[in-house]
Symmetry: C2
Subunit: 340 residues, 2 copies
DNA sequence: TTGAAAGCGCTAACAC
DNA sequence: GTGTTAGCGCTTTCAA
């Protein structure tokens, strides 16, 4: 049988109210009884029932974490790491995280995660891009929401985002400082905020260093930022006979594709072309050459999201705060000083 | 304000008990009132509070899912898929799944997942190999346990396992049926049940077809079943000048390493050596040539685990049942008929 | 500073 | 068939 607050009260010779009071150190409790109660708790190894607590407090102690199926199953454990950060932070703060995946195609009759229908969470963290239809359906429940690595096109929300602009900037800075002037950029769909921000960082860096932006050096518009599209983008650049000595790819997947294309055409990396990616995925260090990239601290994204959620829950206000998680340049072997 | 059972009762003009009764269609309720209640539930969009329910029923409605950090973060989403299966099955059965990762190194003072300390789950599913120390600490809580893809060395448990013996057998059968006689096996640590079972399947298939087992064709003992070790194992085979026309690798990672080594030495796959792997990981289809392998239905493992857990929870007995999830041969391009 | 008691939303005897 | 009621474990006024 599970130990209850009554057991503790009896053993400490006090009322259940007192136990509850010391548990949450509310009001003034004499040091003496406080000690007695604490001792009883220790001895009985008592852990308050979250369920009973939730019933009276009208909170569940759970936080929902929503991810599309695609994102959860990605080979690269990007969102998995974010989730881990959230789970980690939740431990300290006495929350449980309920993970739910939703389909990538969300229709009017697609059911919402059970924890929203049953109102079994106090707030919801949404990681990565999700269907707008999902958000529409979710809205009426009025849950506190925190977005991670995604910001919906309309509306104002609390969110934890990657500092993409700065990332794009320091990636480009790095290349410029190595003496490069003809720096290509390959990206995907510019509608996607992360990509357009990285692109913006690229342009800002050029500007800062007094280099002129050259549209010929830029390939964007690919639907997805996949390895294949990175391959294609660089081939296109090469086919147009565009000259460049360095390349900033909007993510590591595209950078990998770029490397393949360059290798196939006999172009040496980094001797002839230096490459910087973005994300710092697992494989980077094992590529040939190991890829210089912008590291994104994935667990931090999850931790910050959970912290933000707690802020909202505790202060009981919708802050609509945006947190930008800092990124970092990781120099490996795919970039080198320009020689002439 | 959330809708409660009282609101429904009032609207339907019945008592809360009646509402509860129709909710769980216990006892006989007149068709007429049943309809009225159902209608009220509909109109109010009522969802019973799991929390309140849990309090009286003394269940939490949660299932814990434990994974080591390494397994959760593996690039290949093996356990992630298993988790997804569990989550999926849980939806129907009105359970929530609480995921917790534990460190790979578990010491006496490493804290248990919070849901065990707070007894906030009805049972725990443990996926993959976990530290024995963890199991030791867990034991005293007396939770219903279901293991997935792992079976502790001591004790009797409920578990969902891959049918490794059969997998090893059909992999080898396939090669034999293609005319191969000299079939090599590369595996890792034979202490690991999955590996020794696949190895056993290999031997059983040979026996079944009247082929004699040749120890020279077998390389085992590598610590981990990594790509690198697959590479090394095949190199060792080649260096010993062992002749073989086919190879069964105990998993796809090793098979990939094997392919690399063979290619490097100028040996053609499948013309000179046919290869079968095990697991059917994501990349298999994109290898050159695409890898023939034994497919493991990962989500099924998770689904079966959840079903088994429900069995245990509903019938309130510890079945200690073992469920073997069937595997399947997937023929791609890495195997071909032996020519002479 | 501490205790008595009400009540959170639900279920299950038991009574009618 | 349906309603009354006690009670699950906890928090929180209110009173002492």
């Amino acid at each position: 049988m599970k130990i209850t607050i009554h057991d503790v009260a009896r053993r400490a010779g006090v009322s259940t109210a007192t136990v509850s009071l010391v548990l949450h150190n509310k009001r003034k409790i004499s040091e003496e009884t406080r000690k007695r109660v604490l001792k009883a708790i220790q001895e009985l190894n008592y852990h308050p029932s979250q369920v009973a607590r939730g019933l009276v407090l009208k909170q569940t102690g759970n936080i929902g974490f929503v991810l599309t199926e695609d994102h959860f199953l990605r080979t690269e454990p990007f969102y998995t790491r974010i989730f881990l950060g959230t789970e980690f932070e939740a431990r300290d703060s006495n929350y449980f995280v309920l993970l739910a995946t939703i389909p990538n195609d969300f229709f009017d009759d697609t059911p919402l995660p059970r924890f929203v229908m049953q109102q079994n969470v106090d707030g919801i963290i949404i990681a990565g891009k999700v269907p707008l239809k999902f958000l529409d359906k979710l809205r009426s429940y009025n849950f506190p929401l925190v977005f991670v690595d995604y910001y919906p096109p309309r509306g104002t929300y609390s969110a934890v985002l990657i500092d993409n602009i700065r990332g794009g900037m320091i990636a480009t800075d790095h290349l410029i400082e190595l003496g490069h002037q003809k720096i290509a950029f390959i990206g995907g769909d510019l509608q996607h905020p992360s990509i357009s921000e990285r692109y913006l960082g690229y342009k800002l860096a050029l500007e800062k260093h007094g280099l002129t932006y050259d549209a010929d050096l830029v390939v964007t518009g690919e639907q997805s930022t996949s390895k294949e599209n990175g391959y294609r983008a660089v081939c296109a650049l090469l086919d147009k006979k565009t000259e460049f000595t360095a390349l900033f790819a909007c993510n590591d997947a595209m950078a990998m594709g770029a490397m393949e294309c360059l290798k196939k055409r006999g172009i040496k990396i980094p001797e002839q072309v230096s490459i910087v990616g973005f994300d710092d995925i697992e494989q980077d260090a094992f590529l040939d050459p190991p890829l210089t990239t912008i590291a994104v601290p994935k667990p931090d994204l999850g931790i910050e999201a959970m912290k933000l959620m707690q802020d909202i829950l505790n202060k009981n206000i919708r802050t609509n705060k945006k947190v930008l998680v800092p990124v970092e340049l990781v120099v490996r072997k795919s970039t080198t000083r320009l020689r002439d």
